[in-house]
Symmetry: C2
Subunit: 127 residues, 2 copies
DNA sequence: TAAACATATGAACAGTTATTCATATGATAA
DNA sequence: TTATCATATGAATAACTGTTCATATGTTTA
């Protein structure tokens, strides 16, 4: 049976690097200022949503106008199901909101923040 | 054998939706303002880089200080190889730059833009 | 009520991706 | 030169993700 005793930090870190090259002052200082691991995981999940061509296109067209699922599918020349699945993800991440009108569901961007992030991304790639 | 004749747009779009629900005025107007497909693909690829926990962490620690590969591996408690692979991606996307000093390679953020995008993402998830 | 329609969703499959392992490269020191 | 160190990289694997297909849900109209 494996022992689960507390080891000192060096023992753990030995696998990561031979350890001769570490700049301890820098590492220790940054370590102190590190946010909760969970916060960075959430941040990655947030950006992950923007990291798919279909979702980017959906966000883009919604930045132009509120739209129903079928409109989006036609604009993007994709199946309704695919769009619907992606909208669910965008909904879960609170990037879009929606309102129902009879059989139709209209989606729109959750807030101006989203457009601003898209714009900043555009700026970067057009440099 | 299937015919490959040019069909009108309705024929193509029939697969995407039954087409009774399309709001043509909206769709046509947004269609006109659509950026090149390639631009949106590039944008998705750009954000994809931020959509991974390891890379987000790397970008975060580099926002605090220039650092060598080994430092990053230790901070993140990950293998040197994993970090090196991710740094290559960040390099390719021009998110980080590096300088060599003897055997050691120091990485840093390519420009202030990156920090600003991280900050905006943080803002959004802390709302 | 039944039929038609817009959207949502579960399961399956294909394609992608992050990590690990082994090894290569490039630099310094002996 | 040889040994050592820091980093890079190719291949393999495991996990994840987006689309499709079939079907379900919820709404309106006949």
């Amino acid at each position: 049976m494996e022992q689960d005793n507390k080891k000192n930090i060096q023992d753990y870190e030995i696998d990561q690097c031979d350890f001769i090259c570490v700049h301890e002052n820098v590492v220790n200082q940054v370590l102190k200022a590190m946010p909760q691991d969970q916060e960075l995981l959430d941040l990655a999940d947030f950006f992950k949503v923007f990291g798919d061509a279909t979702r980017i296109k959906i966000l883009y067209v919604l930045s132009q106008s509120e739209m129903c699922v079928c409109d989006i599918a036609n604009l993007l020349k994709m199946g309704q199901s695919a769009i619907s699945h992606q909208l669910r993800i965008l909904k879960q991440m609170r990037l879009v909101k929606f309102r129902r009108e009879g059989k139709t569901v209209f989606y729109s961007l959750a807030d101006g923040h989203i457009e601003s992030i898209l714009a900043q991304g555009m700026e970067h790639i057009n440099e």
